[in-house]
C-alpha cells in the first residue's frame, strides 16, 4: 500500500528554523517526484515545489523560490521541506504528494505549522 506519512505539528517563533518530513512507503521512492503544497488557514492549495528523490533535481514555484528549501534522503525514502527563518505568514498546513502522470495521486496527511510569538 502506497503511503506518505508526514511529521507532526510544529509550533515555532518567528525567526526560528524548521524542517518537516514526508516518508514514503509501498513504492519505489526514487521513481516518483514528490511535491509540497501549502494551504494557509481558510485558503486554497498552493503548489510550492517538487523534488526527484532519485537525483535531487528540484523545481520551485516562483512564489516560493528562495523562501523554502526542498530536499530528500532516498536512503530513508523521505522528502523534506525546510525554512531558515520562519515568519508568521508561514502558518499553514503543508502537504506532500506523489506525482504520477503529471498529477498527484497520493497525499500525506498534512503537517500544521504554527508560527507565533
Amino acid at each position: 500500500e502506497v503511503q506518505l506519512v508526514q511529521s507532526g505539528p510544529e509550533v515555532k517563533k518567528p525567526g526560528e528554523s524548521l524542517k518537516i518530513s514526508c516518508k514514503g512507503s509501498g513504492f519505489s521512492f526514487t521513481n516518483n517526484w514528490i511535491a509540497w503544497v501549502r494551504q494557509m488557514p481558510g485558503k486554497g492549495l498552493e503548489w510550492m515545489g517538487i523534488i526527484n528523490p532519485g537525483d535531487s533535481d528540484t523545481r520551485y514555484s516562483p512564489s516560493f523560490q528562495g523562501q523554502v528549501s526542498i530536499s530528500a534522503d532516498r536512503s530513508i525514502s523521505t522528502a523534506y521541506l525546510q525554512w531558515s527563518s520562519l515568519k508568521a505568514s508561514d502558518t499553514a498546513f503543508y502537504y506532500c504528494a506523489r506525482r504520477e502522470k503529471y498529477a498527484y495521486d497520493y497525499w500525506g496527511q498534512g503537517t500544521l505549522v504554527t508560527v507565533s510569538s
Binding site: 503544497v37 492549495l45 504520477e100 498529477a103 500525506g108
Partner: protein
C-alpha cells in the same frame, strides 16, 4: 505569472449536474497541460478525482468526469449527491516540472 482560474463558488441541487471549469489568465487549456482535479473536505487532505484530463482515479464514482470544454478544462458531476459538497481544485502542468493550482471552487449541494 500565469494564473489558473476557477469559479469561486457554485451550487447544484441534489441529483443535478454541474460543470466546474479551469482556465488560464492568458491562453487556452489543452490536454498538453495534463489537467487534474482534486476534492477536499474541511480538515482532510485532498483526494485525486481526475488526471490527464479525463481519467478517473481508482475508486472515483463515474458520476465524476473530466473534459476540455472550449478553452478550459472541465469537471462535470452528474447526479450530485450531498457528500459531493466540497472544495474542488484543478492543477495544470506548466512544463519544466512546475504545476499550478487553481484557486478552488466551493461547491454547495442544496
Amino acid at each position: 505569472q500565469t494564473v489558473v482560474t476557477q469559479e469561486p463558488s457554485f451550487s447544484v441541487s441534489p441529483g443535478g449536474t454541474v460543470t466546474l471549469t479551469c482556465g488560464l489568465s492568458s491562453g487556452s487549456v489543452s490536454t498538453s497541460y495534463y489537467p487534474s482535479w482534486y476534492q477536499q473536505t474541511p480538515g482532510q487532505a485532498p483526494r485525486t478525482l481526475i488526471y490527464t484530463t479525463n481519467t478517473r482515479s481508482s475508486g472515483v464514482p463515474d458520476r465524476f468526469s473530466g473534459s476540455i470544454l472550449g478553452n478550459k478544462a472541465a469537471l462535470t458531476i452528474t447526479g450530485a449527491q450531498a457528500d459531493d459538497e466540497s472544495d474542488y481544485y484543478c492543477v495544470l502542468y506548466m512544463g519544466r516540472g512546475i504545476s499550478v493550482f487553481g484557486g478552488g471552487t466551493k461547491l454547495t449541494v442544496l
